[in-house]
């Protein structure tokens, strides 16, 4: 018996419908094509429900609903919107176990992460933006004695959002909370690998949200994502995914002259300076855990610390210690609380990771531990499991340059501060980084020198609301997870007012 009963079994906290339609204008709407696709749990590799296969006509229907709702929703007070966001948070809190089980079943992540990290963060995110929108004010600039510039925030109107599969609920909430807080209506397309978690959440909170404010259209990227991203009826598009699609989305946005926010991944360095091993104390233990964070969410995190940079002086000792820590990772049924690493989210993701384990070896990288698919037997035999893997090599290898999006870290050594920065910045991406040292001067200089939007310093993989998250370089455009995100979902209206009774004298 697992700690939480699998969906589909009697007594499970999460009960899925056999079939999910689109969620448009506050109700389920059948796909116009009449077609559905199967939704598989990566835990066992088996189908557990069907999902509407959306197309351009469905996107248009959702846009109709969003446009019908937008004028009234955009005029609600910040107070009203904040109350709604707080109610959503309270409802989620009351149902946290059910939501966590649903997300784990669909995505494969261990329940300890969905229950104690992902869903609590999503809850807090609604509360953060409830607070942020209440506290937001326009401004009045006294330009001269008779002239005042007033600045008002206005919603954009109707926005499109395309959600990734690695955190089906948290990533949706990162985008939804600021958008609706700012008074926008949303058409959201979940990833086709994890289309149902957000419906599960919506079912719990549907009575709290006015019809048409949040609309969900499922389907494949090419059939549903593209018509959404290229529609002239959206005022903005937000996307998390990879670089080719990111460029295509910018291309479509350029045709409509609308803004985009993009989060396109990374190849984050996690840097361990020699002084971390100066003592065998709690901090050293924390650093070992910090290295092992590459296994969080099976490595399916845009900021996975997938490059381990260890200073030469401590290289052998540190690598030995983190290898032992990595070997202690417990893989197992994702619904067991003691499981540390669950299933990769999909079969194609599994295949891609295996292809990188292959090219890593071919390029001459050494497997320190792992390096194989994991067969966990029993009902999990059909699931998508990979051993946590440490490669040793150099930064020019492709496993050091590409986001594998699996539980794989590529380790190399560096000699001194400058060498560490050189390796850290030798990448196309700049989303996250980690710096570990007992010397705060070193930490500060490293943090400022690394070309990445988020530098965790003596910590890793924390995502509190209030800390801006987003990329440098090819990692994207825009910042999430912070009140500045409101700006990505608002227009600035300037009223420039003259209080002078007298003419200029020009005409």
């Amino acid at each position: 018996m697992t700690d939480f009963v699998s969906p589909g079994q009697p007594g499970s906290k999460a009960v899925f419908l056999p079939r999910y339609d689109h969620w448009i204008n506050g109700k389920f709407v059948k796909p116009s094509s009449g077609k559905y696709f199967e939704n598989v749990t990566p835990v066992t590799g088996k189908v557990f429900c069907e999902v509407a296969r959306g197309n351009a006509a469905d996107i248009d229907l959702a846009l109709d609903a969003a446009h019908a709702a937008a004028p009234a929703w955009g005029k609600t007070s910040a107070t009203e919107r904040a109350i709604m966001l707080n109610k959503i948070a309270d409802r989620m809190e009351a149902n946290v176990e059910a939501i966590a089980v649903a997300e784990t079943w669909e995505n494969g992540k261990p329940i300890r992460e969905s229950l104690y990290v992902d869903i609590p963060l999503a809850i807090d995110h609604f509360r953060y933006f409830a607070a942020a929108i209440r506290a937001q004010e326009g401004s009045a600039g006294e330009l001269d004695n008779d002239t005042v510039a007033y600045h008002f925030h206005e919603p954009l109107g109707v926005v499109g959002q395309i959600i990734p599969w690695n955190f089906p609920i948290l990533m949706a909430v990162w985008k939804l909370a600021p958008a609706i807080a700012a008074g926008n209506c949303v058409v959201l397309k979940p990833a086709e690998q994890t289309p149902v978690s957000i419906h599960f959440l919506m079912d719990l909170i549907k009575d709290l949200i006015p019809d048409g404010v949040v609309n969900i259209v499922n389907g494949f990227g090419v059939e549903a994502g593209k018509p959404l991203a290229s529609s002239p009826r959206i005022a903005k598009i937000a996307f998390t995914g990879e670089t080719s699609t990111g460029r295509l989305i910018m291309q479509y946005a350029s045709e409509n002259i609308i803004p985009v926010t993009l989060e396109l991944g990374g190849k984050s360095p996690n840097i361990f300076f020699a002084d971390v091993a100066a003592e065998n104390d709690a901090f050293y233990d924390k650093a070992l855990e910090g290295f092992t964070m590459f296994a969080v969410n099976q490595g399916e995190v845009c900021t996975c610390p997938s490059r381990g940079l260890i200073e030469a002086k401590i290289y052998d000792k540190f690598l030995g210690d983190v290898t032992a820590r990595t070997k202690a990772i417990k893989q197992g049924h994702p619904l067991d609380l003691s499981t540390m690493m669950g299933a990769q989210a999909s079969t194609d993701q599994l295949e891609k990771i295996l292809s990188y384990l292959d090219i890593g070896r071919k390029e001459g990288a050494k497997v320190i531990t792992g390096g194989e698919r994991a067969d966990l037997g029993g009902e999990l035999a059909g699931g998508y499991y990979v051993m946590p893997t440490i490669f040793e090599g150099n930064n020019k290898m492709r496993i050091f340059q590409e986001e594998i999006f699996g539980p794989v870290i590529s380790v190399t050594k560096f000699d001194g501060f400058d060498n560490a920065m050189e390796i850290a910045n030798d990448t196309l991406y700049g989303l996250g980084a980690g710096v570990w040292t007992r010397d705060m001067n070193t930490a500060y200089r490293a943090g400022r020198a690394i070309q990445a939007g988020r530098v965790w310093t003596n910590c890793y993989h924390a995502y509190p609301a209030g800390a801006a998250f987003g990329g440098y370089k090819a990692s994207g455009i825009g910042r999430e997870n912070h009140k500045m995100m409101l700006d990505h979902y608002q227009q600035t209206k300037n009223l420039l007012v003259s209080y002078s009774p007298n003419k200029l004298g020009f005409f």
Binding site: F220, E242, T245, L264, T347, I359, Y429
Partner: protein, 133 residues
């Protein structure tokens, strides 16, 4: 001296490309990088993805039963990190991947890789690649 190819395809990929061509018309690939579905070859309608001076033409597939060669592109900065490896576009079971055309068929294109041999590399190192503009 013949220039070795930088990118090939498997028969499974060719069969899917024939199907997709029949449904959609002429095709292209752009090799992706980055998050989630990254590092996957994205298959688009020819011309759907605007290539430019920052894209490298990695190769062209001439496939029996498909009239127009299918060009395979990659962003130039990414190519700098990939150029020492030979690529093979394969097909596996799967779903999704950006706006790639095969997703609704329950399949996924996948890039497999190997290092070039010394002999291949000697020729390729001195062979220029063309760009999208």
């Amino acid at each position: 001296m013949e220039i070795p190819s930088r990118v090939d395809y498997t028969e499974a990929a060719a069969e899917m490309l024939r199907e997709l061509t029949a449904i959609n018309g002429p095709l292209m690939f752009h090799q992706s990088g980055g998050c989630c579905d990254g590092s996957s070859p994205m298959c688009y309608l020819e011309g759907e993805f605007r290539v430019g001076a920052q894209d490298v033409l990695v190769g062209e597939f001439v496939i029996k039963g498909i009239e127009k060669p299918i060009k395979v592109w990659m962003s130039a900065p990414q190519f700098e990190y990939w150029k020492h490896t030979h690529l093979t576009i394969d097909l596996v079971d799967g779903r999704g991947g950006g706006f790639s055309l095969e997703a609704p068929e329950g399949k996924r294109f996948l890039t497999r890789s190997r290092l070039f041999t010394d002999g291949e590399w000697e020729i390729l190192e001195s062979s220029p690649v063309s760009r999208g503009a």
